[in-house]
C-alpha cells in the first residue's frame, strides 16, 4: 500500500485533457474521475484515444490542454517516473518485460525505484526486495517461475508479470491497458481475478478492455471514449444500453 496520505477529492481527476498529433485531435477535452479503491472500465472503439489518454495520465505523453490531478497534487507535465512514485502505475498493452533479467529481478526495479522512493519509505535491502518480489509473484501465480528469464514466458504469464510489476510499485491506482487481449477464456478469468484482488490491496483500477464480459463483471463504473471524446460515464448496464454506445460499436 502506498504510504502517501490521501488528499481531498477523488484519487485521480482528469479535466479537459486535449492531445493533438499534428493536425489530428486524439483527445478533445476529456474529463474523468476515479475514486480511491474504485473499479472503472474504459471502453471505446479502436482509435478512440484510450491508449493516448492512458499515456497522458501516466506522463509518457504530454497533453496540450487540461489538467491531471492525482491524490490532490497537480501532476500535469510531471515526468512519468515521478507520477509512478506518487502511486500511479500502469501495465502495457504489449508486455514490455526487462528481458535481460529474471522474473524476480523484473519486480526489483519498481520495488527499488518506485515503492522505495515514496515519501516516508526507507531504503530496502537486496534481500528485502527479493522477499517482497517473491510475495507478489506468488500472489499472482508466478512464484514457480521467479528465476526464469522474463523473455521466454507464455503470453498469459507475461501479462501477469506486467501486472505484478505494476503492483510492485505499490500504487494507489493501477491502469491496466488491455491486459487480457488475445487470451483464452480461462486465462481471461485468471487475469480478472488478479485485478479483482486489487481491492484488497486498496488499489483503484482503471481497466481498458475490449472484452465486454470482463468489463461488465469487473467495473463499478464504465466510461466510453469515442473519437477522443467521452460520451458517457456511469453504471455499466446503463452505459451498455446507451444509444450512442450502441451506435459506436455496432454502427447505425
Amino acid at each position: 500500500m502506498s504510504t502517501a496520505a490521501p488528499g481531498p477529492g477523488p484519487l485521480l481527476r482528469v479535466e479537459g485533457v486535449t492531445k493533438r498529433f499534428g493536425g489530428f485531435v486524439a483527445l478533445d477535452g476529456v474529463d474523468l474521475q476515479v475514486g480511491a479503491g474504485e473499479r472503472v472500465g474504459l471502453i471505446g472503439p479502436n482509435g478512440s484515444g484510450k491508449s493516448t489518454l492512458v499515456n497522458c495520465i501516466t506522463g509518457t505523453l504530454r497533453n496540450e490542454g487540461g489538467r491531471i490531478t492525482f491524490n490532490g497534487e497537480d501532476v500535469t507535465g510531471m515526468p512519468a517516473h515521478r507520477r509512478t512514485r506518487r502511486g500511479l502505475a500502469r501495465s502495457f498493452q504489449i508486455p514490455k518485460p526487462f528481458t535481460s533479467m529474471s522474473v524476480l529481478d523484473n519486480l526489483r526495479i519498481p520495488l527499488l525505484y518506485a515503492a522505495g522512493a515514496q515519501a516516508g519509505a526507507r531504503r530496502i535491502s537486496e534481500r528485502e526486495s527479493g522477499d517482497q518480489a517473491m510475495e507478489i509473484l506468488v500472489s499472482v501465480g508466478l512464484g514457480g517461475k521467479a528465476h526464469e528469464m522474463s523473455g521466454g514466458l507464455t503470453q498469459v504469464d507475461m501479462r501477469k508479470l506486467e501486472l505484478a510489476r505494476a503492483i510492485a510499485a505499490r500504487p494507489r491506482l493501477l491502469i491496466a491497458d488491455e491486459a487480457m487481449a488475445g487470451l483464452s477464456s480461462s486465462e481471461v478469468d485468471d487475469i480478472l481475478q488478479l485485478l479483482a484482488s486489487m481491492k484488497e490491496r486498496g488499489i483503484a483500477v482503471v481497466m481498458i478492455e475490449h472484452i465486454m464480459r470482463a468489463v461488465m463483471r469487473f467495473s463499478e463504473r464504465v466510461a466510453v471514449l469515442v473519437a477522443g471524446r467521452k460520451i458517457v460515464d456511469g453504471d455499466p448496464a446503463m452505459v451498455i444500453a446507451h444509444p450512442e454506445v450502441q451506435k459506436a460499436y455496432l454502427g447505425e
Binding site: 501516466t58 517516473h81 502505475a89 502495457f92 526495479i109
Partner: protein
C-alpha cells in the same frame, strides 16, 4: 562477493602485476602492456554507457583526447605532476560527458550517438587550431629521466600507474553493475519506457552514466602524453581508439564487467603481437570485420557464450 572483498582482490592482483617490474627486464613488454591496459580502461568505460545502459558512444576518441590534452596543457603550463593531470583530465572529460548528455539525452538514442561523434570532430578541429597545445604540428611532452619511487625507466612507472587505474576502473564498473544504479541502467537498456513507468528516473541515470563513462575515458588519456612523448591531433583522435573501444566490449560481452576486460586483453594483445608483422591498416580492417561479425551473429560476445553454456549445464 561484496565490493570491498572484490576491491581487495583487485588490489592484490594489481600489486602482483606491478611486481612484474622486478622480474621482466625487457622494456618493450611494459610499452605493450601499457597499451593493453589503456584499452582495458577505455572499453570498461565505454561499456558502462554502451553495455549497461544501451547508449552507443562513437566519440570515445573525443573524451580520450580531452584527457590527453588536459595533461598536455597542464604539463606545458605548470609541469604538473602526474596525479594532478590524472584528476584534472578525468574531471574535464566527465563534465564533457555530462554536457553532451544534457544536450541530447532527452532525444532518441541515435541523436546521442551522433552528438558524441560531433563532439569528437569539433574537439579535433579545435585542437588542430590551438597552437598552445601544439596545433596540427604537435607538442612534445618529455617525461623526466628518472621515474619516482625507484621504478627506473619511466615506462615502468607509467605501467604501474596504469595497472592501478585499470584495476580501479574495473572495481568501479563492477560496483555499478551490482548496485541499484546498475539495475536501473539495465532496465533502461532493456526497455526505457517501461523503466520510466516503473519509477526509474531515466534521464538522471543516463546523465550519471555518460558522466562516469566520459570521465573514465578521459582518465585513460591522462597518462598518454607522457607515454608517447609527441602528441599530435591525428594520432590522439585516431579512429583506432573509437573502434577498439566498441569492438572490445562487443566481442568480450557487454552485460558485465568481465566482457570488456576479456575483449581488451584478447584483442589488445593480438594487435600488439600482430603489429610487427601486419600493417596497421590491415589490423584495423580485421577489427572492423570482427566488430561487424560479432554484432550481427554473436551480440552477447564471449561472456554471453560462457553464460549460455553455464545455463545449459545447470538445467537438467
Amino acid at each position: 562477493m561484496s565490493n570491498r572483498l572484490f576491491a581487495a582482490i583487485a588490489g592484490v592482483v594489481a600489486a602482483a602485476f606491478i611486481g612484474l617490474n622486478a622480474a621482466v627486464t625487457n622494456d618493450y613488454f611494459f610499452s605493450a602492456a601499457y597499451i593493453v591496459l589503456l584499452y582495458v580502461i577505455l572499453s570498461t568505460a565505454w561499456n558502462i554507457l554502451g553495455g549497461y545502459t544501451g547508449y552507443v558512444n562513437f566519440g570515445t576518441a573525443g573524451f580520450f583526447a580531452l584527457g590527453v590534452y588536459t595533461s598536455v596543457v597542464l604539463f606545458k603550463a605548470f609541469k604538473a605532476p602526474l596525479p594532478v593531470m590524472i584528476v584534472a583530465g578525468t574531471l574535464v572529460a566527465a563534465v564533457a560527458g555530462l554536457g553532451v548528455g544534457y544536450l541530447t539525452l532527452r532525444l532518441r538514442g541515435h541523436f546521442f550517438a551522433i552528438a558524441t561523434l560531433a563532439l569528437a570532430v569539433m574537439l579535433f578541429t579545435f585542437v588542430t587550431n590551438w597552437d598552445y597545445a601544439g596545433g596540427a604540428r604537435g607538442a612534445y611532452v618529455i617525461a623526466p629521466r628518472e621515474a619516482p619511487f625507484g621504478f627506473g625507466h619511466y615506462i615502468r612507472y607509467l605501467y604501474a600507474v596504469m595497472v592501478v587505474l585499470a584495476a580501479a576502473s574495473i572495481v568501479v564498473a563492477r560496483a555499478i553493475e551490482h548496485s541499484k544504479l546498475g539495475r536501473g541502467l539495465a532496465a533502461i537498456r532493456d526497455d526505457e519506457l517501461a523503466a520510466e513507468c516503473a519509477g526509474v528516473p531515466t534521464l538522471r541515470l543516463k546523465l550519471v552514466s555518460t558522466t562516469i563513462s566520459g570521465g573514465m575515458m578521459g582518465l585513460a588519456g591522462t597518462t598518454f602524453p607522457l607515454f608517447i612523448s609527441f602528441i599530435e591531433p591525428t594520432s590522439a583522435f585516431s579512429l583506432t581508439y573509437a573502434v577498439n573501444a566498441i569492438a572490445m566490449p562487443v566481442i568480450g560481452g557487454m552485460n558485465t564487467w568481465m566482457g570488456p576486460l576479456i575483449g581488451a586483453v584478447l584483442l589488445g594483445t593480438v594487435q600488439q603481437l600482430v603489429q610487427v608483422t601486419v600493417s596497421s591498416a590491415w589490423n584495423l580492417l580485421i577489427v572492423g570485420v570482427l566488430l561487424v561479425l560479432f554484432v550481427t551473429m554473436a551480440p552477447s560476445g564471449i561472456m554471453g557464450w560462457v553464460r549460455t553454456r553455464q545455463h545449459r549445464r545447470r538445467a537438467p
